[in-house]
């Protein structure tokens, strides 16, 4: 059994829940308080993909203007990304294009999943399934609805990035 290392990134505007998704996946926990990320934080998680172990190096990057444009060099070596929007904040949907474009500029083949996070906040929801799906269709990536709070679809999103071959939807 070999160990494969993969660098994946969490991208998206500020306060969409990138750090919380990583914490849910890596530590299995959730904290409601919001702590803004600055700079870079790398977490590691080992997962099994078929016969192989995959060591995911998960980059948590500052969202918003702090990241866009200035630090795209950090994306070098990235094979996949979870690009996240906050389903309760429509302004975070438009940024998916920018992040996708930025990553594709570094690695055209990068595997991207578009995550609509905070799906548990049903009453506050502002972004519809069809709106997010349209983004996924246009930018060429599957769409998944996650909740760092409840854990819904969090593992699925990261496992997709860890997989060797594209098997989404099978």
């Amino acid at each position: 059994m070999g160990v494969i290392q993969k660098k994946v990134c969490l991208l998206g505007d500020f306060s969409v829940g990138k750090t919380s998704l990583i914490r849910r996946f890596v530590e299995g926990s959730f904290d409601d308080s919001y702590i803004s990320t600055i700079g870079v934080k790398v977490s590691r998680k080992r997962v099994v993909d078929g016969g192989d172990e995959v060591n995911l190096m998960i980059w948590d990057l500052a969202g918003g203007d702090d990241f866009r444009g200035a630090q795209s060099g950090y994306l070098l070596g990235t094979v996949g990304a979870l690009i996240v929007c906050d389903l309760t904040r429509p302004d975070t949907l438009g940024a998916l294009w920018d992040y996708s474009e930025q990553l594709r500029g570094i690695n055209r083949e990068a595997r991207i999943v578009f995550a609509g996070n905070k799906v548990d906040l049903v009453a506050e929801r502002q972004i519809s399934d069809s709106q997010l799906q349209a983004v996924g269709d246009e930018l060429g990536g599957p769409v998944i609805y996650t909740s760092a709070k409840t854990g819904d679809n969090v593992e699925e999103a990261f496992f997709y990035l860890a997989q060797k071959e594209l098997v989404w939807g099978d």
């Binding site: 660098k7 803004s36 600055i38 870079v40 934080k41 702090d66 630090q71 060099g73 070596g77 904040r89």
Partner: protein, 346 residues
């Protein structure tokens, strides 16, 4: 030479490691132990990407630096668990030196913590601003459901205007009542009845608005529309009469349709009620007369008052119904049946 790095960089509190071409760490400065949390392992001999996973994926860049094709690079504010487990920030800088690849580790926890606080406040304000924008849009949507669009726009532009009070103004008032609706609907399921009623009232509202009027209120199976309010309309009588005729014509084949009364005159126009709850409406004799005229009209007919007829002049075909005493009034007034009207909407 590496002693020189130790002296120069160590004086600035900067730790460093030196790697060979395979990124194995050959030399570690004494400061490194205080900057990275590696317990029970010797850093010497480790692969660079094991000590700094932030370097993983950047091997191509490291190779460029090694070959002198790139002067160097840095990763700013890497969050790491510092010695003792607290969160700290370091900046990693990479350069090629004679001994190998020099990776400098500078503690930037102080600057990082300050930047984090500022970013936190800015982001919280950003989220708050977005939430306020959403709340404002929701309120606007709700407001427009309960208040005519023109009135809502005026109120939002000038919240001071949203107070009880108003002024006298000439208006044209349209009353439309669904004749025999209650009898027609008495055997219907309540939900079916409401659907049928809403459909007919929607047609009335659309026609009133299409002619520049506003919906003043729903009154059971009747509607009241106003023209020349809140926006001035020099042809309010013409537009009110056009709307009335369009309404009965739109439903001429229906089993149940409107009887319509239109009247023009001075009314008190403004916000009626209290600071806590008010309606934008018109009250006064002209309004009462419009209601009485409508009550006289048969299903599918439009009756208009004397003043409206005068303002329409040659532009309307009318038939006088004579001088009548309207219910509850001492004075008599001439009432006309509106038969046809100039169609152009200005």
């Amino acid at each position: 030479m590496s002693d020189l790095y130790e002296r120069v960089l160590g004086k600035q509190g900067v730790g460093f490691v030196i790697c060979d071409e395979g990124w194995a760490i050959e030399r570690v400065s004494s400061e490194v132990g205080q900057l990275v949390d590696v317990v029970g392992e010797s850093i010497e001999g480790m692969v660079l990407t094991d000590l700094f996973p932030e370097m993983f994926g950047l091997e191509g860049v490291l190779a460029e630096v090694w070959r002198g094709e790139r002067a160097g690079f840095a990763i700013e504010k890497v969050a790491r668990a510092g010695v003792g487990g607290g969160l700290g920030y370091v900046t990693l800088g990479v350069e090629k030196v004679a001994e190998g690849l020099l990776v400098m580790i500078r503690d930037v926890t102080k600057e990082g913590t300050l930047e984090q606080r500022i970013t936190q406040q800015r982001n919280e304000l950003g989220v708050l601003a977005q939430e306020l924008a959403i709340a404002k849009e929701k309120l606007n949507r709700l407001l427009h459901q309960y208040v005519p669009a023109e009135v809502a726009r005026k109120m939002l532009a000038n919240p001071e205007a949203a107070r009880p009070g108003g002024a006298r103004q000439e208006v044209t008032v349209l009353f439309a009542d669904l004749r025999n609706f209650t009898r027609w609907a008495e055997h219907m399921e309540p939900t079916v009845m409401m659907k049928a009623l809403n459909k007919k009232l929607s047609v009335a509202v659309e026609i009133i608005q299409a002619h520049g009027g506003i919906l003043d209120k729903f009154m059971g199976d009747a509607v009241m529309g106003l023209f020349n309010a809140p926006e001035a309309d020099a042809e309010h009588a013409l537009h009110g009469a056009q709307a009335a005729l369009a309404l009965v014509r739109a439903m001429r084949d229906d089993e149940v349709t409107f009887s319509v009364g239109v009247n023009t005159g001075e009314a008190f126009l403004g916000n009626l009620g209290t600071e806590a709850m008010m309606n934008y409406t018109a009250v006064g004799d002209a309004v009462n007369q419009a209601k009485r005229i409508q009550e006289m009209a048969l299903q599918g007919y439009v009756y208009i008052g004397e003043e409206t007829q005068k303002l329409l002049g040659e532009r309307a075909v009318v038939k006088s119904l004579g001088t009548l005493r309207l219910r509850g009034r001492e004075q008599t007034t001439e009432v006309y049946e509106l038969i046809d009207i100039e169609e152009r909407i200005e």
